[in-house]
Point group: D2
Chain length 305, copies 4
């Protein structure tokens, strides 16, 4: 087994020169305030160990990473019927999203583009009596951290500037593919994006996807083994915005990123790895985080390919 601690510490040194580069998502004022020199990384293995370096214990805004958890809730509630309302294909590029919605009659390409996540949010809102509490409880159990919470200021900040998401939601609604009121869907969507999690939370919180859908420490079945594999497949093809191909090419593992600067990856049957650094590259993924994950696979030899 690789010496994960040594590897994480080495990576931290190697990415240091990158920490000043990239840009912070400034359309969410609260995120723009985060110091860009932050860097944390954590590995959680199936045998229960957690390795960490840098700011691995500091919480940041999970943003799109939360889409994996709402997808989990949606699949648990409606199973494969979900795919009648959202696709499973990469979207090509950001530019295409509205065009594709138009051409494809309001059916978003996949659950990880914003349009798809809004539909998933709508499904969760329909399926659960108290969706916010359910989501929060789920994420806390996955991360084994009962103190984990959301950041209402981030949600409010996004809601106020979320004209593009409001455009998407209204557009999808015009095709009849949202059932709850647009405002309710948007509120829940911004709530889920505002989950505040650390690298340790995320590494631990994605382990069930490396373990065939079961929680490694108590055996709780989160999803069927098939469903877990399929979320991994979706993360690989669609998890890192327009860079999914490049990410598969260079990093070689299923991963989900967020504009808060976090990225979580999964090596099936072995581990989950989370990294955080706020400044983003041109594709919207953490710049230093992407480099760190590429170094991680190079140094460990781990890859699904």
């Amino acid at each position: 087994m690789p010496d994960y601690q040594a590897i994480l510490d080495a990576i931290r040194e190697e990415v240091r020169p990158l920490l000043g580069q990239g840009h912070v998502a400034d359309y969410i004022p609260r995120l723009a305030e985060v110091p860009r020199e932050k860097f944390g990384m954590a590995v959680a293995t199936l045998d229960g160990r957690v390795y960490r370096t840098g700011d691995a214990g500091e919480v940041f805004s999970a943003q799109s990473i939360s889409k994996v958890y709402t997808l989990t809730l949606a699949l648990r509630a409606v199973g494969d019927r979900l795919w009648q309302r959202v696709g499973r294909e990469p979207s090509g590029n950001a530019f295409n999203s509205l065009v594709q919605l138009e051409l494809e009659n309001g059916l978003p390409r996949n659950p990880f583009i914003n349009a798809g996540a809004l539909v998933v949010a709508d499904v969760v809102l329909e399926a659960y009596a108290d969706p916010r509490a359910t989501l929060l409880a789920e994420v806390r159990r996955r991360a084994d951290n009962p103190g984990l919470g959301d950041d209402a200021a981030v949600a409010a900040s996004e809601r106020q500037n979320g004209f593009r998401n409001a455009a998407l939601a209204n557009f999808i609604r015009s095709f009849g593919n949202l059932r709850r009121p647009v405002d309710e869907v948007l509120d829940f969507y911004f709530f889920q994006c505002s989950l505040a999690m650390s690298c340790v939370d995320l590494a631990r919180g994605f382990l069930f996807l490396a373990h065939g859908g079961a929680c490694p420490w108590d055996g709780e079945r989160v999803l069927e083994a098939d469903q877990a594999k399929r979320i991994n497949a979706l993360m690989l093809t669609c998890g890192t915005y327009d860079a999914a191909g490049d990410f598969a090419y260079h990093v070689g593992m299923p991963a989900k990123s967020g504009v808060g600067g976090g990225i979580v990856g999964v090596i099936p049957n072995q581990l989950a790895v989370a990294v955080w650094s706020p400044a983003l590259n041109a594709k919207g993924n953490s710049l230093a985080g992407s480099a760190a994950l590429e170094l991680f696979t190079a140094k460990t030899g781990l890859s699904i390919f």
Copy 2:
């Protein structure tokens, strides 16, 4: 180890009802003549065994599957400089190809869409003194079959009706991203598509991608280990036309398909599996072949996720 022979035979029985369904690519008259009840499947494992069922020994037109071999030749010749001329991202959908070429200044999205394969063909034409002989020799060595050849009638049939590929080639040329004359590039492209291979040829011929880029029986280094992994990543995200996401979701292994009805998949460190059935589904992949591969992963439990 699973009983591959029993599994292949069982799959053959299970897909039998599907053999009448789907459509044959009728824009290539020669392909339209192939009887649609054909079905063959072969597995080649790293330890040198080959399992086969049905028409696994019968040759058919490799078509787009050949793109993996020209990509191999191009990477060997120019390495990562290739990515200055072609991208590594999924294309979203067929419709986008021309739009994306326009928006992205003649840089095709990936080497497996036709536009990208034309650029790869151009690179091969520039890099090798006798590109046809080089390609043929390469494929023969990979498949360990010195009798393997091309089908000039198929190439001629495609060339005659290949207005859309001619449009693509001229369009890319207008951006300066083809260097050899358009007609020469098209001729080579139709030649590569016309390679005639059997499931056994293809299963054996893709084993180097399951073996870190080295030939399993004689150790010949075909590509660097990194390059082999990355071709697998490209196949997973872009190898099965507009159905790559769906394929990753349901089948869970890197694979490349062709309109001749063939599909080849790779499970790293274990095996390569090839299937052939001429009739295609709406996404252009072999209908029975896709089902057979999904059954294969279900029955063996194999998956990269």
Copy 3:
């Protein structure tokens, strides 16, 4: 001078067989209730005469025809500075609207597509203290009909189902090209669309565009002569949705249509002509109305070409 009365009556007879054809805009429930056999037509000439036939005195929902009046108010208030926020080119087709907004950074193609009309509404909201009263007063003066009003039930009906317009407004707002709150812009937009006018109102109400921007009966200067000509040019190139080219080809005069089934055309220096019939053709213009205008130009020999 042609015998306009005889021509209108003849047209009414000739289009009678068309009155059962086409479809009524059913996304606005109130509009869907209008009997589709309705047909009215009116001509107003510069010398003050008004000719009418059929239901020419019955009010219907002006819908997009109102965009000419808000454009008039916007040009009067900000002049050519308007064109920094909205273009003057045809949009190609409906499908393009969102794509073009994206590619062109939130600058709508022209003031007559919905996106452009939302920006014009925003300009009017910024420029006038009481925009609704101003608009209503303007339209009443142009039509010489102090009793002219809006239909609040139509506005409410549209507002409730106006998800696509809400999507557009939010999208434009995300580019910073709306300055008033999205809801306020939408409310004003649906108000303007709900103006209830008859063919007589509309024929009289567009005469200033045939008269160099001045009111023909009292000489009031509504717009500069140049501005009036330019609104005519805009109507010709962009006034009838995706059928502007076809309309120019077959009818040969500047015209503006609405989904309420009205169309108004202008022959500079001579007359304005309005027609109404609720059922629409595939391009969203009144089916019988389009035919009636083509007959009108054929029978009178009038054309700007």
Copy 4:
């Protein structure tokens, strides 16, 4: 009647400062050699007079202006059946052309975009025994200039670099909307573009469109009156590339431009006006020529609106 000679001379002075601005179409090497300080303008009136200024007698490459003549030949041969193979709507913008061809199954938007002109060329090739001779004879008669000819060097220069037109032609052919061989269509297309005409030739040569389709000096019927009006409508909505709306707005007359720097406009029942200056603005129309035509309408008060 305005003093056209004085107006032309005044315009020539006023546009002088613009002659250094803009760019020359450098993808056609022969065109790039033309001195950019050239400026000519000519007016031909229905009563037979011709006014000229500057380089009005010097020939230049007609380029897209020739599309009006091939459209004339096509309409004469097949009448309204032409519209089964090409549309009559503005294309929105250059970017859309390939997308629209794809979405609209190979039916070009209008006869003046390149895709449409290729289809018109195909129609002419099918309809006439000796299409080149027929076209040349037609243009000579219209311009009353038997010495008018083509410039083979320009055609060769375009043919050699015409990859984008070759892409378009192959693409249209793939939809079955070209019937003659692609190379034959392209050769004829580049031939028509290479017609060498002066402003005087063009002003005289478009007079039939200001005269209801009949030649003003000998009464020869070139087209039906309806057809002539409809070509004017097409020029207004589609004649000046992506600037048709802007052109209608600022100039207010039907016009056709070419990348050789020529523009010809028509005021029905009065005159035709041609201008030439090689350097183009961002939309591909002669920069000084566009300004000159706007000055012409401002100084004469002429406008169809």
